[in-house]
């Protein structure tokens, strides 16, 4: 655009407008704005009773696992008195192995 002519050439005017609007128009529009689906997923086959059954089975499995850990073969593991960690020799099913780490028990009837 230059300053001189009293009246712009109509073709120049058209060209200027075309160029101007072309720079403004987005070349690519974003994808259609479809909201993400917020509806809950459809119930699994079998209906609500099956969901409850699955939940109950899961709870039972967790409880069983907890009991197994508490009373299973590893349940008698003890930390050694010196704090040095697990003593594999101290793991004895009948508890006798603990005696070598424990002080002698006082005779029956005596108060320590």
């Amino acid at each position: 655009m230059t300053r001189s002519s009293p009246q712009p050439n109509p073709d120049d005017l058209d060209r200027a407008f075309s160029q101007y609007f072309r720079t403004q128009l987005p070349g690519r529009f974003p994808a259609a704005p479809i909201p993400t689906d917020t509806a809950p997923p459809p119930a699994p086959h079998g209906g609500p009773w099956r969901t409850r059954l699955t939940l109950a089975a899961s709870v039972a499995a967790v409880l069983a696992l907890g009991l197994a850990v508490s009373y299973g073969p590893g349940a008698n593991r003890r930390i050694t008195p010196d704090g040095g960690g697990f003593d594999p020799n101290a793991v004895v099913g009948d508890g006798k192995g603990l005696q070598k780490h424990l002080p002698d028990a006082p005779p029956m009837g005596m108060v320590p």
């Binding site: 655009m1 712009p8 407008f17 403004q24 128009l25 987005p26 529009f29 704005p33």
Partner: protein, 177 residues
């Protein structure tokens, strides 16, 4: 096809058909490309809700254009409140492209002047100019979209161009190729 799939298909078809027209109307109102895009997205979000709610739209094109016009008004008012003192068109800038700096500077100056002049036109004239030059619609297409007579479009287009030419002449400016 399930109902949701049919709605989606129809919605995407309407979006691809009318997104540019909606953008053009919103742009013509405030001459701000980003605001126009926001208005476009919001317009189609509302269309989606309409379709999802099972509303029947006899003329979806007229519906989206009317919503876009209303939203453009609301958008400008809310933007005006946020900005405090200036309407959004005063913040708009010409989109940058990969042209040499000297050319770009000259072009930006031309564009700034064109924009300044467009701002002074009535919004209805800007709509016609935007459709004519941004979407390259001819007079019958503009007339159909805006619900005007073709002669009225010719007249308003001619008048708008003449006004701009007069203003440019008054500033002693001519456009260069």
């Amino acid at each position: 096809m399930p109902r949701k799939g049919r709605i989606r298909e129809r919605f995407e078809s309407l979006y691809s058909q009318y997104q540019r027209e909606v953008w053009a109307l919103a742009y013509a109102r405030w001459m701000d490309a980003d605001s126009a895009m926001d208005v476009t997205q919001e317009t189609f979000l509302r269309l989606w809700k309409q379709l999802e709610a099972g509303e029947t739209l006899d003329n979806p094109r007229a519906w989206v254009l009317r919503v876009a016009r209303n939203l453009a008004e609301d958008y400008a008012k809310s933007a005006f409140r946020r900005n405090g003192t200036q309407a959004p068109e005063l913040f708009g800038t010409v989109a940058a492209t990969g042209v040499p700096p000297a050319e770009k500077m000259e072009r930006d100056e031309t564009f700034a002047r064109v924009r300044e002049l467009l701002d002074e036109l009535p919004a209805a004239d800007r709509e016609i100019l935007t459709l004519r030059y941004a979407l390259e619609y001819d007079a019958p297409a503009i007339a159909e979209m805006l619900g005007l007579a073709v002669t009225a479009v010719h007249m308003r287009l001619s008048r708008a161009r003449q006004r701009l030419a007069d203003k440019l002449a008054a500033q002693g400016v001519k456009t260069s190729p």
